[in-house]
């Protein structure tokens, strides 16, 4: 063997390294990328050309309508009528009515109140949504307890006429909670008597404080909910719906997983009933049937009726989302909590729910997106939400123009798209962020 090697004459040996030649031009850079991703085979090339043609045509149609032929300035529908002016969007109309789109028929002099509600809401919500910022608990308490009352007073004007009968009914409810608590604390001695006393005093105190605050005259003019409209109503319905549905949804999800047959049956029936029917029938029910269910003579606000319907409907969906989270928590967690001697509610409040709710944040955001899109349905029962207020332009003689309809509808579509797309991106961000802890 070694002989063979020795005999082989080496004719040529390179003494210096040859620099690597660059890759062929057609596999790098823009050309290479296009070759690989757009024109790999003849069939794919045809597909690319056809798709590109269609896509370019649609983009051109949109640009032509929304920019090139659009009318941006004008005092009335006159600007958007006539040859050469009616082929594109009438953004002049959108500009003139923008205030109405946001505030509805809210008195112009009082719009600053809505602005404060919007600004405070955004200022409180943004730090809540950024995971790295501190003071989450305080922020959540402000957002869920103080902010709603503030918004209620600012938007309606406060100074509610709280009569003796309202005090009486409120305290009937307070008594229904407090008396069993006191009974359990002092007579049956199941819970700590001190705790029972403090809890009772707390509940009674909060109820009194709430009624007192709502009846204070802040000197704000009263604005009826029928004057609210536009984005304001859309946001009020969506946010109230989601906030009210969270606690209800958690209870229903726990009920559905309960081992008590009656509790389970009621929860399942409630959830499946609302999930099985379309929202529009629920809204009709809330606006037509709800007044029938109440004692004769009681009449309450149209917006409030829609809110009740939306809250019940979304709580069923929320229950299923929360249930998904509860199912994802290993049984060992509950067993460990039981081994430590924690009660059911201690286990839920301290061990299981915090983990489960954290897992389902993306699901909650997705439910919220669905609910936000569904708020457009309240326009069918005659509430002036963003969609309906945009459509009122069609009956405005001042802005009668061929493109009024399409401008309004596409503007509404764009506004909703911005909100929903932003939220879905946030949900994806949270999903990635929360995912890391559970990967092995």
């Amino acid at each position: 063997m070694s002989d063979l090697h020795a005999e082989t004459s080496v004719a040529f040996v390179r003494t210096q390294e040859v620099p690597a030649s660059p890759p062929p031009a057609n596999i790098t850079g823009l050309q290479g990328w296009m070759r690989e991703n757009l024109f790999p085979t003849p069939l794919q090339s045809v597909l690319t050309v056809v798709m590109g043609g269609i896509a370019a045509y649609i983009v051109w149609l949109v640009l032509d309508w929304a920019v090139i032929h659009a009318v941006f300035v004008g005092e009335s529908g006159e600007a958007c009528r006539g040859e050469g002016r009616q082929e594109g969007a009438c953004w002049a109309m959108a500009g003139a009515r923008f205030g109405q789109w946001i505030y509805g028929f809210y008195p112009i002099a009082e719009r600053w109140r809505v602005n404060i509600v919007f600004i405070v809401g955004v200022l409180a919500l943004v730090p809540m949504l950024i995971p790295s910022l501190p003071y989450k608990t305080a922020n959540a308490i402000f957002l869920l307890a103080i902010y709603p009352i503030m918004a209620l007073i600012l938007l309606t004007g406060g100074h509610f006429d709280i009569t003796g009968s309202t005090w009486f009914t409120t305290y009937l409810f307070v008594a229904a909670v407090v008396l069993p608590l006191l009974f359990l604390g002092f007579v049956a001695k199941i819970i700590d008597s001190k705790l029972a006393l403090f809890a009772s005093l707390g509940i009674a105190g909060v109820a009194a404080l709430l009624l007192e605050i709502l009846s204070i005259d802040f000197g704000l003019t009263y604005v009826e909910t029928s004057q609210w409209g536009g984005l304001l109503v859309t946001l009020v319905i969506a946010v109230t719906g989601i906030v009210a549905s969270l606690p209800l949804g958690v209870l229903l999800a726990l009920g559905r997983r309960s081992q008590m047959p009656v509790v389970k049956l009621f929860s399942v029936a409630f959830i499946e009933l609302w999930r099985g029917v379309p929202l529009i029938t629920v809204l009709f029910m809330a606006s037509v049937m709800l007044p029938l269910f109440l004692p004769p003579g009681t009449n309450f606000d149209k917006l409030l009726r829609a809110l009740v319907g939306v809250a019940l409907f979304s709580s069923a969906y929320m229950a299923e989302v929360v249930r998904g989270g509860l199912q994802a928590i290993p049984k060992g967690q509950t067993e460990a909590a039981q081994a430590l001697g924690l009660t059911f509610w201690q286990n839920m409040g301290l061990i299981t729910l915090p983990q489960a709710l954290k897992l389902v944040i993306p699901g909650i955001v997705n439910t919220f997106i669905g609910l936000f899109k569904d708020t457009t349905l309240v326009s069918i029962i005659g509430l002036y939400d963003l969609l309906l207020i945009i459509q009122t332009a069609n009956t405005d003689a001042n802005w009668a123009a061929p493109q009024t309809h399409s401008t309004g509808l596409f503007a509404a579509a764009a506004l909703f798209w911005i909100f929903c797309f932003g939220m879905s991106r946030y949900s994806m961000f949270m999903e990635r962020k929360l995912d890391t802890g559970h990967k092995r």
């Binding site: 009656v262 049937m289 007044p291 899109k373 569904d374 069918i380 909703f416 929903c420």
Partner: protein, 394 residues
């Protein structure tokens, strides 16, 4: 030495700490509260109805309706009953749901496969489609189709036509009408026969392949039978089927079957909106199939066509079908938005009855019962499917 007796009896706990007692107490309390509220609601409703002078019960369904509906599948006139109007509504809901489900499945699968394409442009177009469609409320999409797209079509006089058979105008879509002649049953018979034959061929070819390993071109044979047998019936019976093609008149289209613009708008919006969700489901389903499956199949010598057909898609379907079924249910429920544009579906027709008769409780209960039946059927199907498709493991 004293023996402790009763060692296996549970330790003494206070009566109210016994989980059993507590569970009973909670359940009895819950039943009591629910019963109390139900009783209150019932009483109030009865009192309110009496005050408004509305008789309860479903007897009103036999009263003459006195209003017309713009689109009906069964004969309906102003003198028909409320019950018939509700029936028309149910059928219209089913029609738009079935048509929508077929269309949305086709579009959704195309979009889902496009999103997985290696072609950058194709994947991007599909992604933009999904992100635009699913983030815009359906109601707005329906209104855009109805008030912007369809309204922009020409009048019937200048209707756009596809090969002079299908006409598009601002009065809706007009398609040719079948005219059934004498002996048309032979065509149907041929069709039924073809299906029976296909069923038999599928079984036979499976058994033969299991026994001998030989394959049989089932798909081509089935296609041939499905087209051939009805055609045979058509010619034997002496060409009994004719088409009535729509003709353009001065003001309207004559002949053919007209689909009202409300139907066209609702159908288009529902299928395009739902397709965005189905596209994502299909994409997730295909991605959920392990890459090792494809590689193993290639290693066994299957080409990419059979790999997709025999290995990837059957496994992807297991992931795809449950969410797909719930999207179908969503589409059916969303068809209730027809009320916004006046397509007489269950909610719109029922709403008119509600406004005229004031029978709110009855109409809303009919709505809920019908939609709950749909959703119950869907969940029954899903349970059946899940148990059939469950992975059989050791």
């Amino acid at each position: 030495m004293s023996v402790v007796t009763g060692g296996d009896s549970p330790p003494k706990v206070a009566f109210f700490n016994d989980p059993k007692v507590r569970s009973w107490a909670v359940q009895i309390a819950l039943v009591a509260v629910v019963a109390y509220f139900a009783w209150q609601i019932f009483n109030n409703t009865v009192a309110n109805l009496r005050e408004a002078n509305i008789a309860s019960g479903y007897g009103f369904l036999d009263t003459t309706a006195g209003f017309d509906l713009s689109f009906t599948l069964i004969p309906y006139t102003e003198s028909s009953t409320y019950g018939r109007a509700v029936m028309v509504g149910i059928l219209n809901t089913l029609l738009v749901a079935v048509c929508g489900i077929i269309a949305t499945t086709i579009i959704g699968f195309i979009v889902g496969i496009m999103r997985l394409s290696k072609n950058w442009l194709v994947a991007k177009v599909a992604e933009v489609y999904v992100e635009v469609m699913r983030n815009v409320p359906l109601l707005i999409q329906i209104l855009i189709w109805y008030k912007v797209v369809l309204a922009a079509l020409p009048s019937p006089r200048n209707a756009l036509s596809i090969g002079d058979t299908i006409f598009l105008s601002n009065r809706g879509v007009t398609i040719p009408k079948f005219l059934w002649g004498e002996g048309a049953w032979m065509i149907v018979a041929g069709f039924v026969l073809a299906i029976a034959a296909i069923w038999w061929i599928v079984r036979w070819s499976r058994a033969r392949q299991a026994a001998t390993g030989e394959q049989f071109p089932v798909f081509l044979t089935s296609l041939g039978l499905l087209i051939g047998l009805p055609l045979l019936g058509y010619f034997i019976a002496g060409a009994p089927l004719q088409f009535e093609f729509p003709e353009q008149g001065n003001f309207n289209l004559r002949g053919g079957v007209g689909l009202v613009p409300e139907f066209a708008a609702l159908f288009a919006a529902l299928s395009i909106y739902t397709a965005a969700f189905i596209g994502e489901i299909v994409r997730a389903g295909i991605l959920a199939v392990n890459k090792g499956q494809t590689e193993a199949s290639h290693a066994l010598g299957l080409r990419s066509g059979p790999t997709l057909r025999l290995v990837v898609i059957p496994q992807a379907m297991r992931v795809i079908i449950p969410p797909l079924a719930s999207q179908y249910l969503n589409l059916t429920k969303n068809s209730s938005l027809a009320v916004a544009i006046g397509y007489p579906d269950l909610v719109a027709a029922g709403g008119t009855v509600l406004n005229q008769s004031g029978q709110a409780v009855e109409i809303i209960s009919i709505w809920m019962a019908v939609y709950l039946t749909f959703s119950l059927l869907t969940s029954l199907f899903m349970n059946w499917f899940n148990s059939k498709m469950k992975l059989v493991e050791r």
